[in-house]
Point group: none
Chain length 216, copies 4
DNA sequence: CATGAATGAGAGTTCATTCAT
DNA sequence: TATGAATGAACTCTCATTCAT
């Protein structure tokens, strides 16, 4: 009789992390309701009962998954954006490809789609994302745009709507990837999108003579 | 009271239509899994058993709902877009506000969100939408853009990506409305968005001298 | 292929009654926690799911069972007791055997034991029984005793404590039957108990000269 | 500090006793099924796993609790009762208040209620209590009554039923306290009950001239 | 066609019990 | 001995689907 893997396994305190990782995968594949705790447990390598050592309910696990994506990101992005030295056009040149890259690898994308999908049934989560991630992000970008307008770099217009302009093609590409690529659609080339989007924004959002700004 | 006509045959007997209408409301409020057939039947004014006289399963009803939005729209939009006489810039001027208007009232918006939300669990639906609605629409717009590029009205670049550029802010506004407005967020002013978006596209996508080269 | 019993059976409105009857049996045999809905359903001849067409939760079924015993009894007993024409001693002669008889056949006995057993975990039920059954009953009996004292038939003393005296041997016999008889103990002869109890009460609670009462 | 005695051997190491004490509290508050081993362990100040070093199963702990109450009591009570010198009436005068006192403080009361509540599910325990505690007690009292009858102190009648008469009001008061007092009912004054009960028994059970026939 | 009571498989959750440490 | 993280069987409850009427 081979000893095989022991029935009871390690009991580390990275269990919550493993569970959240497994849950993220299952929730984002199936949605909240269709996700089975059995499968989350299996993928996390624990028994179903073990989930309840760390989380109170299925919904609680879902909350943990959604909140995972938020905390570490906002401050870092804010710091990097606000520390950028050059003009707004230069910032776009740097950051559009960065967004494209982040969306390709980060779980933020999957989680964002989950928030969109399940927001109606979990208003607290929608509110949490709105308050903790989306509003701050838009605030940061709007602020940068407003200051760029003061400097004459960006045309007149509502900075929030400009922020939407900047982000929305990436959101659409993300949803495309999650929705239509699995059924055979061609995925968008995020780098090409970033490049072409940069062109549109330079031509349509920035002023043609950025040197006209009041203080050089 | 004549015994001739059987009572009054109370309505056009558009039971399937009534069921789909009720189902659209419930599915878009709750999502597929959380929608109860009891509620759909109640809103449709029929018994739960009656649903099964017209549809085989819950999923079947969902399919019917999703397909509803597609058929009548594509051909009409295509006809109107391709019949537009003026230059591409003029077309944008007309159609951006139209898109804004349609998204405000049409069920296409709700259904689109449903497709995004539930696509993973119902690949046939994702494929159906992709094949029947999204791809044709993008094809139409890409075609217009391509011809406008031939006429020198639109800058060089991938017409499909330009199509994304055009649509994506409206998609984002729609998702914003469905996701964050219910938890207290400010909705976007779709008309203002259309106006500002038009400005960006004119500056960033169109050429400044469209008549420059009539034939390439 | 024999038709056999149809899979779906009658749908009368005496289902609640059948369920409560089955539930009474199971709850009183096993206690609340150890009673399985599977068994209640099986004994009621319905599926597990059918229970939920009539009751919201297991606890709800338990409530229904407990309340069953109360309503029809109090008023009837009160009427009969208060309509009794003769002296208190005669009333005891009639009613002690009656109590013995009722406890032998009525579900009140089982339910009473359930209330005692589960009262801690279901305070509402304890309160309900206290308010609706026990307190009224004791009130009635105390009232009779008080008036008998006024007539000089019953010795001085707290009428409520006398009421306890009257009832308690029957309660004890009931609990004996439910607790020890199933493991082989000899059951009490309720009639003999009633007779001997009557003797004790006549000698120890009633006055020796009932004719001394003020109004004869 | 001498290295001799190993540390201080912190306590008498009466773990089983501590566990039983904790378990008594939890079982009598919640009943068997609703009692959680987690809570017993917590109250006993040990880990959940430690319970299994001393007892095989939850049921085993329950057994230990129930048996606790029995052993030390029977012999002592028997000795004291049988050593009582005076007539039966005098014995009642002494012992009724004693019973009242014991029921107020001893865990026997709680355990007795547990046996009543859970007896159906644990027949061995019912049998154990019946055989080891209840039957002996009733035997002792019946014997005393029988001898008192022989001495002409107690009226004719089944001694066992007289024993029931004597005890049952206290049992009822106990169950009242456990069941209805927690939901707001007035508790019985056990001393008043003992006094009034004594009066009833003297009048209804004892003869008026105990010395009449010394030997029958 | 239409009803809605009834079904039963399947889900989330609990908790006595086990075992690696 | 002692711990407490981990297990997994069992339970209550839900709801899409079916069928007697």
């Amino acid at each position: 009789m081979q000893p095989g893997p022991p029935k009871f396994q390690r009991r580390k305190d990275d269990r919550p992390g493993e569970i959240v990782t497994a849950a993220l995968a299952v929730f984002s594949e199936k949605g909240f309701a269709a996700a089975k705790l059995d499968e989350i447990a299996r993928r996390a390598g624990v028994s179903k009962g073990a989930l309840y050592l760390y989380y109170e309910t299925k919904e609680d696990i879902f909350h943990a998954v959604v909140k995972t994506a938020v905390a570490p990101n906002v401050e870092m992005v804010k710091a990097r954006l606000e520390a950028f030295p050059g003009p707004f056009g230069g910032l776009l040149e740097i950051f559009l490809p960065t967004i494209a890259g982040v969306l390709s690898v980060s779980p933020v994308a999957s989680i964002g789609k989950m928030v969109i999908s399940e927001g109606r049934n979990f208003p607290e989560l929608a509110r949490y994302w709105h308050d903790e991630l989306v509003t701050p992000m838009i605030g940061i970008v709007s602020g940068l745009i407003g200051r760029a307008q003061d400097r004459g770099e960006v045309r007149p217009g509502d900075p929030k709507l400009y922020a939407i302009e900047i982000i929305s093609p990436f959101l659409m590409a993300l949803l495309w990837r999650e929705t239509f690529v699995p059924v055979g659609a061609e995925p968008f080339d995020l780098n090409a999108l970033a490049a072409q989007h940069l062109g549109v924004l330079k031509g349509g959002m920035l002023t043609s003579n950025p040197t006209a700004r009041s203080a050089s």
